[in-house]
């Protein structure tokens, strides 16, 4: 009951937040000089002012900004994100075509980074000044410092060209016939390198934080109690310490959702991953305002859902959070 109340409250906040994001996005895009008509005119090889005004009137771009904003919000609330002048297709259709690919990449990279980061952090905390701990630190800082496109290209050269373990680009092998499993296997095969690339940035953050958090927890009184019970070291660490060390890591992971999405834009470009990132890049170059707004809207949605998830994972882990609203 309390859970449902909190859930309803959080979803309420999320809706308000989304509308604020809509207004902000729309305003910022309209503050930038130039619009899609400039691009169309350029594609046509030039046009006179009269024709351009006509095209603007056709798209409703001659109206005051506030009217455009009102219409836009009204349409979005009906799940209509507008029409891409550049692709000549409804934006919703464009996005839904590519959203699953991005979601797959973002969530798998996030989960991969969390699992590996937490494991590395836990092991590093066992001997905080041991060799393993130093290797983890070095490895993590390398992943964090290296630009993601560079890591991506490096992995491509290593594991697609020199040792051809993984495909170079794309999301699935178009020549594969058959049911769900061969298809899924092909996608998983394509996913490995992009996921590693995107995850590598975040492993550093999560493992460092998990190590610090574990060190603190391992010194606590209740860990001493667990040892005094006669528990095996493995149970002391994995049952009694880890669950207490997780909240800061999970909180950080939630805050990093937006960074994962912006990282995904670069990774998708490097690996020709057919997701929102690629779409974003082309539509920005084309000044395709409705598509950009649509992508921004969905990115915000993913970040908000990610944070909601984080919130509920935290409530699952720590009973002390449950008492609060």
């Amino acid at each position: 009951m309390a859970f449902l109340k909190v859930l309803a409250q959080r979803i309420g906040y999320a809706v308000v937040l989304l509308i604020a994001v809509l207004v902000l996005n729309f305003t910022m895009i309209n503050l930038a000089p130039g619009d899609v008509v400039d691009t169309i005119a350029a594609d046509m090889g030039g046009a006179n002012a009269e024709l351009m005004a006509q095209i603007r009137a056709e798209y409703g771009l001659d109206q005051p900004v506030i009217v455009q904003l009102g219409r836009y919000i009204g349409r979005v609330l009906q799940f209509d994100l507008g029409y891409s002048y550049f692709y000549n297709r409804p934006v919703t259709e464009l996005i839904f075509e590519r959203l699953p690919a991005t979601l797959l990449l973002v969530f798998s990279a996030q989960i991969f980074a969390l699992v590996l980061g937490i494991l590395l952090g836990v092991f590093a905390a066992q001997k905080p000044n041991g060799l393993f701990s130093h290797i983890v630190t070095l490895f993590a800082l390398f992943g964090y410092a290296a630009p993601v496109f560079w890591t991506g290209i490096l992995l491509l050269i290593a594991f697609s060209l020199k040792i051809p373990l993984f495909p170079v680009a794309g999301m699935r092998d178009v020549t594969i016939e058959g049911g769900f499993f061969p298809q899924a296997l092909s996608i998983a095969h394509h996913l490995v390198l992009p996921m590693l690339t995107l995850g590598s940035i975040f492993i550093a953050l999560y493992s460092r934080l998990c190590r610090a958090s574990m060190l603190e927890v391992l010194g606590s009184d209740y860990v001493r109690t667990a040892k005094a019970k006669g528990l095996r070291p493995r149970d002391v660490v994995m049952k009694h310490a880890l669950k207490n060390a997780l909240p800061p890591v999970v909180t950080l992971a939630g805050l990093q959702f937006s960074a994962v999405i912006s990282g995904a834009v670069l990774v998708e470009t490097v690996f020709s991953w057919p997701g929102l990132g690629q779409l974003a890049l082309t539509s920005i170059l084309a000044r395709d305002t409705p598509t950009i707004l649509g992508i921004l809207f969905f990115s915000a949605l993913v970040v908000i859902v990610g944070n909601l998830l984080t919130d509920f994972v935290l409530r699952m882990i720590d009973p002390r959070v449950r008492g609060r609203g």
Binding site: D221, Y222, T225, A228, K229, G230, L231, K243, P319
Partner: protein
């Protein structure tokens, strides 16, 4: 005579420090017979907790056993492998720790934490372990056990958490129970209940108990035998009765002297100024402090911490406010100092209406009320030098010319028994007692008319405690200071105060001079509070009354 259950022989424990290996326990030999209660007494740093941890095989990673043997039922535990030790830990020897607030894992239910031990050592199924855990919680008198077993530690009070720890420790019917200052963090009435429970359960399970404490009153009430430790060595041992009657070592004598007698023989303290009851320094009328607790249906519910209390503090005297945690004593004092906001009431300090002050006037008035807080470890800014800590109020008020401030700080250092050379040091370079001296110097720097001591000596060892209390009394005499002394420790209160206000659930239930409160308390609550304090006399009466 049969061989003892546990014997520690020539134990030497060393800790790694910057200067190399430092012994914290040296050549210690103690033994424990089946079914008896042995008390290990000493101040912090005497090595008593380290000895207990060594028996459990739980020394911190910087410590190790350099020499000696620990024989449990004839087997040397220092030579055992990890698996054999784990089979003993929590099963045949178990331990209760000092801090009930942090010793339970916050993310598991208390029932689960008890059931876990039973599954581990007794091989019980999940279901059997759970029902046994409930029986154990019932045995330590947790009310409504079926429901409370599913509670998390943060949903329980300190006393209840310590009961859970006891249930956990006794779950496998251990042969030895080690209790490391199990009640230091608890109120005196709760302490009495916990001891009662420990005595009863130890008798029932026939477990031998090692009780670590610094309180000879507790020893008198609980122990069969006692070992006194001082700086890592055993300085005295014997039957508890004999040691208390004829302490040999000076340290033991100091410990016994620090136990409250709760009699009226001690001479009144404070200066004998002319009675000026007509003109009290501090006058508090109908003070009420409330805190918002929870929003329910958008409505804020208020918790009343202080419920319309009134009292006076006379010039040059000490008023003690005593009570258990949650009684509102600290809140009331902080409201007087304007550190928490009062809802209603009147606080008049030296003719000034304290509650009416705002902004700059309030900042100026703060010079008149200074507070010495409980924890000398966390109430001093670790990044400031000791001299700067004392200097800050002077800079802030600016009443003293800048050129004279340095001399004033040196004078204050001298007054509280510190050397002016120590002004350059940082708080972590001082001991707990010295830090509390810095706090006192800081409080004195503004020439306050009222000093609030909020459990100012509770975190200190008894010997240090006595020194600080002496200092406070000397200063009171020399500077004609007035103290509002907040404490839960009736022994301390008896040493310093002239008058006492007993608080319970936000109300003052009894007010009177010290003699009256200690010898003829009129309220049942005050009587309970006094009865809960472990004293040597009472233990003696009980033991002599027994056949």
């Amino acid at each position: 005579m049969t061989s003892p259950l546990l014997s520690v022989e020539n134990l030497r424990i060393e800790l790694a420090a910057r200067a190399g290996m430092v012994p914290v326990v040296d050549d210690l030999s103690i033994y424990l017979n089946a079914g008896e209660t042995l008390s290990v007494v000493g101040e912090s740093g005497s090595g008593k907790s380290m000895t207990a941890l060594a028996v459990m095989g739980l020394l911190p990673s910087i410590g190790h056993i350099a020499d000696g043997r620990i024989l449990f039922e004839g087997r040397d535990m220092t030579q055992m492998d990890d698996a054999s030790l784990r089979a003993i830990r929590g099963n045949q020897i178990s331990m209760i720790f000092q801090e009930p607030m942090t010793s339970l894992n916050p993310v598991y239910t208390v029932g689960e934490q008890i059931a876990e031990v039973l599954r581990l050592h007794k091989g019980l199924s999940h279901q059997d372990a759970w029902s046994r855990a409930i029986e154990l919680l019932d045995a330590v008198r947790i009310p409504d056990v079926q429901r409370r077993a599913k509670a998390y530690p943060h949903e329980m009070s300190g006393g209840q958490r310590q009961r859970v720890m006891i249930a956990m420790a006794l779950a496998c019917r251990p042969k030895i129970l080690i209790a490391d200052e199990p009640t230091t963090a608890l109120d005196v009435t709760v302490q009495a209940e916990i001891f009662e429970l420990m005595r009863e359960l130890a008798r029932e399970t026939r477990a031998a108990t090692i009780l670590i404490t610094h309180d000879m009153g507790v020893v008198a009430e609980m122990a069969d035998r006692v070992v006194v430790m001082y700086r890592g060595e055993k300085v005295e041992d014997g039957q508890a009765e004999a040691v208390i009657r004829h302490p040999q070592h000076p340290y033991t004598q100091t410990l016994i002297a620090s136990v409250p007698h709760l009699t009226t023989e001690a001479a009144p303290t404070g200066i004998k100024a002319a009675p000026d009851a007509e003109d009290p320094l501090l006058s508090v009328r109908d003070l009420t402090v409330q805190f918002p607790v929870k929003k329910r249906f958008g409505k804020r519910e208020m918790f009343t911490a202080v419920n319309g209390i009134s009292f006076d503090v006379r010039r040059g005297k000490t008023l003690a406010i005593v009570g258990e945690s949650g009684s509102g004593k600290t809140t009331a004092a902080l409201a007087v100092a304007r550190l928490v906001d009062a809802q209603t009431g009147q606080v008049t300090l030296d003719g000034t209406d304290m509650l009416g002050l705002e902004g700059e006037a309030l900042r100026r008035a703060r010079a008149k009320v200074q507070v010495i807080f409980q924890d000398p470890y966390s109430s001093l800014n670790p990044r400031l030098r000791a001299g700067d800590i004392v200097r800050e109020p002077l800079d802030n008020l600016g009443t003293l010319p800048a050129s004279e401030r340095e001399d004033r700080i040196a004078e204050l250092f001298d007054k509280v028994g510190l050397h002016p050379d120590q002004m350059r040091l940082f708080p972590h370079q001082f001991s707990g007692g010295q830090r509390q001296r810095i706090s006192i110097a800081r409080a004195l720097s503004t020439n306050p008319s009222l000093i609030i001591c909020d459990e100012a000596v509770s975190a200190l060892d008894v010997v240090i405690q006595a020194q600080i209390l002496d200092l406070l009394q000397d200063l009171q005499r020399d500077l004609n200071l007035t103290y509002l002394f907040i404490s839960h420790d009736l022994g301390v209160v008896q040493q310093v105060c002239d008058e006492i206000a007993v608080m319970y659930m936000g109300d003052i239930v009894e007010f009177g001079d010290r003699q009256t409160i200690f010898s003829k308390p009129s309220q049942a609550y005050t009587r309970n509070l006094l009865a809960a304090v472990p004293t040597i006399e009472r233990a003696r009466n009980v033991s002599s009354a027994a056949p």
